[in-house]
Symmetry: C2
Subunit: 157 residues, 2 copies
């Protein structure tokens, strides 16, 4: 499945909730979707492979979903965690579902390394290290491209 | 199942990993456990009902667990989220699994309200509001006691 315009349209909910950022925009670069959720790679400074699994419908809490839908969401999250470990070999994987500002079910999957911006704090904590300048940014872009290719291939398979 | 000394001993791994805080201490007030995991209510300032589900064995990542164990862990997390919504009626539930400092599988379940310490930021973000003094602390203790009772009753049932 390609990330072309048609897919992008399909990945968004048909009836966007008023004012919900995840109903009216993809929230990052679309990698894959099915009829219930989409997977994007975010544009977060210092985190080239920060990935989100976003439920299609505007639903606030995971326990608002049916058991079948919860299981589907969870299986995709775990599949990506496995792939992250295999492809990126991070020091640690961080998972989180908050939604305080955007109450629309979405999971963050963040591979972490001891030299990243916030380690060992969560990625929402105080900054611990500078990003490393232009050379580092170029390296991060290459890692991001590789991760998106790997993720797309794995989820389409 | 009571939270007495015998249960506490059972809830900890038999062979603690050297230096792992969650192998050598409960990490909060024990509410319930089975042979694979324990549920504690944390002692986090301003968050009287911050709850953690802690895997018994010293395992770093959720995808290090077997499928059966992953499903068990997830089912307990969701059961607590459901109960949190029913009993505490939070504005939002936050779920997270980091483990950067303590790489031993544990889930945070944090009920959130617009007037809490960090809202709408994650609870690891910059402080947004003061805690509200002694009166608020007493109220929070009462809420914590009620939550622990409800959680204990539900999980034992």
């Amino acid at each position: 499945m390609t990330a072309g315009l048609a897919s992008m349209a399909v990945a968004l909910a048909e009836m966007p909730a008023s004012g919900c950022a995840l109903c009216v925009s993809l929230g990052g670069d679309l990698v894959w979707h099915d009829e219930r959720l989409r997977v994007i790679v975010a544009n977060e400074p210092g985190y080239p492979t920060w990935t989100r699994v976003i439920w299609r419908e505007h639903v606030a809490e995971i326990t608002d979903l049916s058991d079948v839908d919860q299981a589907h969401l969870w299986s995709v999250v775990l599949r990506i965690e496995r792939l992250m470990r295999e492809v990126l070999q991070p020091h640690k994987v961080n998972l989180a579902s908050f939604g305080n500002m955007v109450p629309h079910v979405h999971w963050h999957l963040i591979p972490r390394w001891p030299d990243d911006r916030h380690f060992p704090q969560p990625s929402w904590g105080p900054v611990q290290a500078a990003d490393g300048g232009e050379a580092r940014a170029q390296l991060q872009q290459a890692v991001r491209d590789r991760w998106m290719d790997a993720l797309r291939a794995a989820l389409a398979g």
